[in-house]
Amino acid sequence: AFFWLVSLLLSSLIWFIAVKASDPRDERLQKGLLIFGVMFSVLLQEAFRFLYYKLLRKAIEGLVALSEDGCSPISIQQMAYVAGVGFGLMSGAFSMINLLADALGPGTVGIHGDSQLYFLTSAFMTMVLIFLHTFWGILFFHGCEHRRWWEITAVVVMHLTVSGSSFCNPLYVGSLVPSYLLMAAAAAWAYLLSGGSAQNLRRFLLCKS
């Protein structure tokens, strides 16, 4: 979560500089800058995820060296999951906290002609992003572990797609539907990578030992 915060800080710094250096009255330019800011932020987040992976790798090596039986008390998969959850929670907190604070106060949603489902869709979008971050964490770390670069690029591409789809807002079908589909795909993929299988799932659901 801290790493996500730092990436957010850096990307907003870049965006801020870009905005200050440009003409504030040009609407299209501002929109373009915003899009650039979003994409850059996505790339930075993934870069920081990679950095975090490197850091955790070192930590695991240290733990393995220290432990008595040669294996660390926490596996890299668990760390991947935790990292993903951290990223997700922080991004979710940042997305939602202002909204929630405003939701308490007096006001009408969409009074100026905007969508009335603003809060609802924001909530769903945030939720899907949190889940996605968790799954991306697992996928990303797995890709780094086994040197499968296509997995890493897949994660980055997915992230860019989800962020890009949010440009369709307020046409919510364009952003929520793809995001949820991607989330289902990522969930299945992460599940399979973590050692799950259809058999496991069936056994779990039928409560067999």
């Binding site: 979560a1 801290f2 915060l5 957010l8 800080l9 990307s11 907003s12 710094l13 965006w15 801020f16 905005v19 915003l34 800011g37 979003v38 932020s41 996505v42 987040q45 733990l63 060296a65 220290l66 432990s67 008595e68 922080m90 991004s91 907190a93 940042f94 997305s95 906290i97 202002n98 909204l99 929630l100 604070a101 405003d102 308490l104 106060g105 603003y118 869709t121 924001s122 979008m125 945030t126 992003l129 989800v162 962020s163 949010s166 440009f167 807002n169 307020p170």
Partner: protein, 445 residues
Amino acid sequence: MITFMNNSDSEEEPCNERTSLMSAESPPVPSYQDGRQASEAGEAQGHRKRRAGSSRSPNNIASGERSDSRVPVRESTLENEEEELTLKYGAKHVIMLFVPVTLCMIVVVATIKSVRFYTEKNGQLIYTPFSEDTPSVGQRLLNSVLNTIIMISVIIVMTVFLVLLYKYRCYKFIHGWLILSSLMLLFLFTYIYLGEVLKTYNVAMDYPTLFLVIWNFGAVGMICIHWKGPLQLQQAYLIMISALMALVFIKYLPEWSAWVILGAISIYDLMAVLCPKGPLRMLVETAQERNEPIFPALIYSSAMMWTVGMAKPDTAARGSSQQPWDAGLFACPSSIQSTVPWKQWICLRLQVNLGQAPVLYCAYSLLSVYWVVDDRYISGHLTIFPCVFYSLLQGLCLTLLLLAVFKKALPALPISITFGLIFYFSTDNLVRPFMDTLASHQLYI
């Protein structure tokens, strides 16, 4: 180092001192505003002093050296175990520290949001005589710097005074000082706080009831702090006291001065602990020379208390027959307690570092509530809070990690405060417009 674990001698004194919460504090000095501020001035000064004084853990190089006499082979395996233990206990204690810090912040934020009194600026402490109501930015900056210089010099003087007192064994004086300060905090500030809360919620309370309530609160607090008490109660008092202190500071310290003071305190902390002639370091070394548990009443008392707090579950599990306050030093699993004293030292050191509790929480909650106080943020810009909160916690983790790595006395404040300050200002100016624009277009990153 073993002497730190020996509690057989002078049991009476450590018993009384160990569970005491406060560190040194000066008697109230008259201010030029009104009488009440005088007490707050004294409190503030003491708070500042405490903040400087209690933010470190003991320097136990001597104990480390004792292990040099072992066989090198055993030493390496033992070192491994030591580090593993360090990591394990470090993690647990970091988590244990999060809870009180969070609670303190919550209490302070809740109070600030609801009770108007603490956001009204009614004068300043005598320690910050320069006002910040000046028209120009430069003048304001200058005033805040001057305020900081005065405050820091007061802290330095108090710390040196404390060290001298300790050096010349004026224990009774220190005792009296502590008792006086805790008395004032528990009774006077609680009275003011309760009064304001009642005013805010328009609840009438007659004087006899008020007297009863405050008397009970204060008396139980004094007993918990200076003697023994149930674990949860001690922790609760700790949090209440930190919150009260933070509130006083928010009320009486002008904004820019507060920022500069926070920065200066962390620098001072760094120097006082790490420089060879630093007063805090001298305190630790003097205590070591005398083979005493570092005068718990002064600085580690909260640590000891906190250690007791954390140790209780362990000792209960192990069925130790030691006294509660004693158990704090041995809050390590029995497997290592048998042979290796210096492992216990690590546990102790880890736990002791966490003991700057009241002051730390105060500082942290100060940082985190400034966004609430500032009028610009009334429109619900809450993004700063998780930023600052989280960065503070990270700073805490990092400090504990460094403690495990360096194995000596480290100042606890600088890293966290630096992180907090950086994140506060950068979030305020950079992240907020970005997030606002994103939210208005409903874009997600």
